[in-house]
Structures are given as C-alpha cells and as structure tokens.
C-alpha cells in the first residue's frame, strides 16, 4: 500500500532522510519510531506530497505521490503532531469543509460526516464550536478529519503527543477501529510504549536511516540469542532450583530471590516444557512460569547503545 524507495531529503547540509526504502502492506499499522530529529516527520510529509524529496520515489495505493500528488492525496489522510483546527467553526462544519475539499460527492457527505462523528465519539459535540472542545476531543476531531474521505492510508505524525492517558487509550481504540475498516496506518512516535500493542509492524529510524524494520515480534526478538524466563514458587526452593538450572545446558544467568527469579533459556519450546516438568517433578511448587518478552523500548535502547546492530 505504501512503497518508499531510496528516499532522501536534505535541508541545507543536514540529511534528514537518508536512502530510506520501506514497503508497508495493506491493512498494517506501521509504527515509525525514533528520537526527535530522526527524520520521521520529514518521511511522513514527503509521503503526503507536502514536501519534495531530494531524490527517491513514494507510491501510495499505486499512485506516484511526486508525479500525481492530487490523485495520491485522495487516498491519504494526514494528521500532524502540532496540529490545529479552525476554532471558529462547528464540528460538523469543520468536517463538511474537508469533505468538500477532498472532493467527495455531495450526496455522500452528510452520511459520512455522521459516520465519522460517531466513530470518533463526538456525537454530543457535533453542533458545538470547536473552540469549546478539550485537547483530546480536538485530536479525535483531527482523526475524524483525516478519515472523512475514506482514505486507504492514514499518515499520523505523533498523533498522541500532548494527550492525557485516557485520551491516548481512546485514540488507540479509534485507530484500531479504523484499521479494522481496512485502512493502512503509518504512525510515527518517539513515545515507544504508545506504539506497543497497537502496531503490527515497526521501523526504527535514527539520523535519517531505517536501522530496523519488520513485524513487531520479529523486530523485538532480533538480536536475542535466548529468552528470559520468569518464575515464582512457594516455599524455600531457591537452592534446589539453582542446582537444577546449573545442570541444564540451555539455562543461563540465573538471578534467583527467595520466592521468585529469572533466567535465560536458549533451548526450544519443547526443551522449556521439559525443564518445567522436571522442576515440578522435583517437588518445587511453581506458582507461575512465563517468558518475559522484550519490549520495544528495551529493543530501542539496545539499538541506540549499539548493543544490537
């Protein structure tokens, strides 16, 4: 749905985006993460046709954004971080303006406005002036605006910045429902926890380059030779457990407390299940036994400190 090839953008002597190549299939929620100045906003602005690249190609829904920006824009919904709305319009008028601006057929506009107002949860405020809305509501209105013309692709640049936790959860749910309707979403953020649990794929950008990209679980597990296992038990079994771990070849780095602990396991799922059976057979009363997944944040920290390349 989104294809970016050899994209490069220079501002004076700064290379904001450096040879970026990226393909996002239809129906994905793709998270673009990276620190401020990594080139996320520039990438999204180029993908929208708002900024001309120094070189490279961007295609959205098989339309070349640089050669045919007007047609490409019909497939794109865009929301930026420091967004603003026309405070002197009413919610319905605001959406009506953008519906007409995106050249929707007149007959479909009223119904579509009602739909997006409902989807964004703004029914109670649809005839209110925008200046009276809270920031969270304005953000939801921004999303409603971005999807008013049923775009195939939503490009969201830091959409949750400045929102309180409740508004963030609402935004996340709203984006999921938009994805369920078939839209492909490219979302950028430097708040990593914001993207976890929402994105299906992620890309990590640093200094204009895409240093890692792929399915979320693949990217998160990249570089890890073993997985972390966390367990809890009842009674005084730490010494016994330590001995068992030292005898198991696949287990390493045990860090055990009185009733809980963690170790790394490099074997297969079968071997892990076998190990669990073994400790239960030894009479250790296991309360919980689970794999601790690496978070995007941990992965990102490792990447930025070059622990993982």
């Amino acid at each position: 749905m989104i294809q970016i090839a050899n994209l490069r953008k220079e501002f004076d002597e700064l290379v904001a985006v450096d040879n970026l190549t990226l393909t996002i299939p239809s129906g994905e929620i793709y998270g673009l993460i990276g620190p401020n100045g990594a080139g996320k906003t520039t990438t999204i602005r180029i993908a929208c046709g708002l900024l001309e690249p120094t070189q490279g190609e961007v295609r959205v829904a098989d339309v070349d954004v640089l050669r045919d920006p007007e047609r490409a824009r019909q497939h794109i919904g865009y929301l930026s971080d420091f967004f603003s709305v026309y405070e002197d319009l009413k919610v319905r008028e605001y959406l009506d303006y953008f519906a007409h601006a995106y050249k929707m057929p007149d007959a479909k506009i009223a119904q579509r406005i009602t739909e997006v107002i409902e989807q964004a949860g703004l029914e109670a405020k649809c005839d209110s002036l925008i200046q009276g809305l809270s920031r969270g509501m304005k953000q939801r209105l921004g999303i409603a605006r971005a999807m008013i013309h049923c775009p195939k692709v939503l490009l969201l640049d830091e959409p949750a910045s400045g929102l309180d936790p409740k508004a963030r959860i609402e935004l996340r749910n709203l984006l999921r429902s938009v994805r369920d309707q078939g839209a492909t979403i490219l979302i950028s953020s430097h708040i990593l926890t914001e993207l976890e649990g929402l994105c299906t794929s992620i890309g990590i950008m640093e200094k204009g380059r895409l240093v890692r990209t792929g399915r979320l679980e693949d990217v998160v597990s990249t570089g890890a030779q073993s997985r972390a296992i966390r367990l809890q038990w009842l009674g005084d079994a730490a010494a016994q457990l330590h001995e068992l771990l030292s005898k198991t070849v696949a287990a390493s780095e045990p860090k055990l407390n009185a009733n809980d602990g963690e170790f790394r396991f490099s074997g297969s799922d079968d071997e892990l299940a076998q190990f669990l059976t073994q400790i239960v057979a030894c009479g250790i009363r296991v309360l919980s036994f689970r794999e601790v997944r690496q978070t995007v944040e941990e992965m990102y920290m490792k990447l930025s400190t070059h622990e993982v390349m």
Binding site: F11, V15, E52, F98
Partner: protein
Amino acid sequence: MRFWKNPEFVRHLRAELRTARAITILGVVLVICVIIGLGCWGSHEAQVEAYRRGNQMFGKPPAEQLAQLESQGSIDEWFAFYRFLIYAQMVVLTFWSLLCCAQSISGEREGKTWDFQRATGLSPAEFLIGKLLGEPIVAYFIVLCCLPITLLAGWLGHAGIGNVVSAYLLILSGSLFLGLAGLWMSSLFESRSRGIGLIGTFGLYLFLAFAVYLIDSSFTGIAAFSPLTGLLVLFRVDIPDRVATIFGKAVPWLVMSLLLYSTFGAWLVLMILRGIKKDFDQIKPLSRWQAIGCAAFLNFTAYALFHPQYFVTLRGWETPLHSDRFASFMVGVNGFVLFAMGLAMISPHDRLKIWWRSRVGVRSLLAEDGPPWPWLVISGITGYALLAWGMFAWKKDVGFDRSALLVGLIQSLAVLAFVTRDILFLQWCRLTRMRAPLLKGMLYLGLYYIAATVLSVVFGISSTVRGREALALSTPAGAFDNATSSYSHILFVGFSIQVALIILLLMATAARLRQGASVFDSSAA
C-alpha cells in the same frame, strides 16, 4: 466549481458571518450611513445658510443664484452623500482585502492548519478563489449592506447609472487586485517573517493611496493603480488636468485602471498558482522563461505608459526630451525590473544542489534549477532590445540616434553587472545557514548601498570628482552621470571590480555546492 460552493469561501462565510454577527454589522453600517448622511446634509445646510446671510448682508451671492442653490440643494446633498459612501466603501473594501489576504497563507502557516489544507484535493485555482473572496467576506458584506443606500443616494443625487457602475467597477477591481497582491505577499512570508510582510502590506497600501500623485509624473497612467484616481475623475474633483495615455493615446481612467489590474493581476495569479500548494522553501514565483516574459512585460508597460510631455527629472521638468536622457531613464527603470526578476529567479537551496550534481555541459547552465546569472543576461539583452524598440516607437518625441543607443548599451552593461552581483550574493546567502537568508541578504545590500553613498559624500567634501569616482566604483550611479566622460577609466575599473566580485561569488557558490555534493557522495557510498 462555482465560487459560492468553493469550500474555502464557504468556510469563511460560516466562520465570519454567523447570523448574530451579520445583524450587528448591518446595524453598525446603517448607523454609520446615517451619520455620513447627516454630516453631508449639515455641511450643505451650513453652506446655504452662509450664502443666505451673505445675500442678506452684502447682496452676494445674488438672489437668483441663491434660489438656484437652494433648489439644487437637495440634489447636491444626495450627490455628496453618494460620493462619501463610495469613498468609504473603497477604503473599507480595498484595505480589508489587502490586509486579510496578506495574512491569509502566512496566518495559516503560523496556525499550523496550512498543511491540512495543502493535503486536500483543492486545486491551486480553487484555493486562490476561495481565499481571495473568502478572506475579506466581512468587507464584501459591508459593501452589500451599503449598496441599496448608495444606489438610492446616487439616484437622488442624479449621479447616473454609468457613474454608479463605474465607481463600483473601480472599487471591486481595485480590491480584487489588492487581494491578489496580498495573497501573493502572504505566500512569501512565514511566521518568522510575517511582521515584514505586514510592513510590506502597509507600504503597498500607502503607495496605492498616494499613487494618485503620480498623475504628475512621466508615467501618468500609473496613477490608475489607485482606484481613487478614477473616482476623483468620476466625481469631477479638482485634480491636475492629465489624461492617462498608452503610447501617447488618451485612454479613460477607468479603462486604464482595469487594464493595469488585469495585466498585473494576471502575473500575480500566475505566481500564486505556481507556489500556493508548495512547501515554503520550494516556492519559486516564476519559471526562468516566465521571468524573462515578465521583465519584457514590465519594460513594455513602461514604454506604453511613458508620456514625453510630462518628463520630470531631479532638476524639474525637462523639455524637449533628448534621446540619451530617455535611454538613461529607461535603463534605470530596467535596472529595477532586472533586480525584481533576479529575485524571482533565485533557486531554492536543494534544487540548486540537485542541479549541481546532475549538471552536464554548458547547456545545463540554462536549466530551470540552475544559477540565475545566465537568465539575468538574457533578461538584460531583452531589456536592451526593448530599449531600442522603445526609442524607435517614441522617435517622434525623443529622436532616435546611435549615440543614445550606445550610451544605453554602456549603462545597461553597468546595471547588469551590479544586478548580477547582487542577485548572486542573495543566491549565495540562500545556500548558507542563515535564517531568512533573502531578507538578511537584502538588508546587507541595503547597508552596502547606504555605506557607498555615505563614503561618496565624505569623499565629495574635499573634491566633487573624488566623490563621483567613489560612487562610480561602488554603485551603478556613475554610468548615469553626465560628467562620466571626465573619469570614464574609473567607470571601467568599477565595472571590472564588479566582474571580479561576480567570479568570486560564483566560486563561493560552487564551493558551497561541492560541500553538499561531498556529503551526498559519502552518504551514498
């Protein structure tokens, strides 16, 4: 798309003319109209009363004249009322249009709403129409509220339908032209430089307000840029007895205004359409060929509007006009045109870098994103060709001799060298990391010319010739000096210095571009 369905127009209509606000505006307009009406009636009554007393006490004016004045009184009162209403509407509509449009795009940029508009499917033309008519919607509503009262006053004041239509045509065309100028200026300024844009806006309004005084200049027709000129003529107000001319042929002021608004407006429309949906850094008002065309158009307009009978120099009226004075004057005009076109030709930073990497052979010097100097040379040649043609066109009045053409050529070369140097300096500024490089570059150029003038004055204290030599070395003024023949070698030295500076600037620009290219190469590797 019909303009009343244009989303941008509808947005302004909804936001700025909600029912309560519209009713308030209507009320205020009615009150102001009543006040103006009472003022006109009071003034006329006071005048009649003064005549009446004069008649009673001194027998002047005679009784018949007084009777005529009294019988004519109501008509004059209504006409004065109509006239003031037209003036008021002109001020409101033109000022509002210019001010609102001049803050339109820059305001949207500052409000962070501009990108969302650009991301929609609205075409540049739809943007233009929506903003041009939508931004000053309140002013148009005020005029609409005034319209019935004005028509009534005009009818009772025996103004005539032609007078009313002409007045409104002038006001509307003037406000549309100013709106276009405002929109264009607002597209060139971002939030950081918005203040300068506003200063430019007020400057433009002041120019148009006082353009009526250009009626006494060598370009009488330029006074038609101000709708006030046409209105003053329409209302038979005392202004110098001048006619607007095109190649010496008299043209009605209304027609002249419409001609100027439509032709200059067309260039503004072109520049707006080219840049309105582009990112701020990518805006280039005209393509290279368009800039050449615009330079030719401005030169042509200067020859068309020129009026040899009203030729004014710093020493006063000059008649008969000699061909060398005419040539010098037109080369000076072309100097300003060249500089303006040079500004329009300056390449955005990254476009120039891309050109640098992909350039092949000498032909690439004429590429659209290449350096501006080859095109400045073409503009200069066009300007000189038009000078020769202009002298031929005006040969009956100014003569046509070879020496004037030669003087014009030397002056054109000097002007071209200085303008090229200045434009290349601005292009170099654009390649640096300066914030608002063009504005700062212009400021530096301004400071340079002030310093050069001050230095010449200082040198001139001890010897006038020294002062003139200093001026000839650092500015193009020497080429226009009648006494140049006594120090023509200095003129040549000044010209050589400028050529050397041009080469230096080209080298500095190339060094900057090479720097960028090496970053690109290492990154690509």
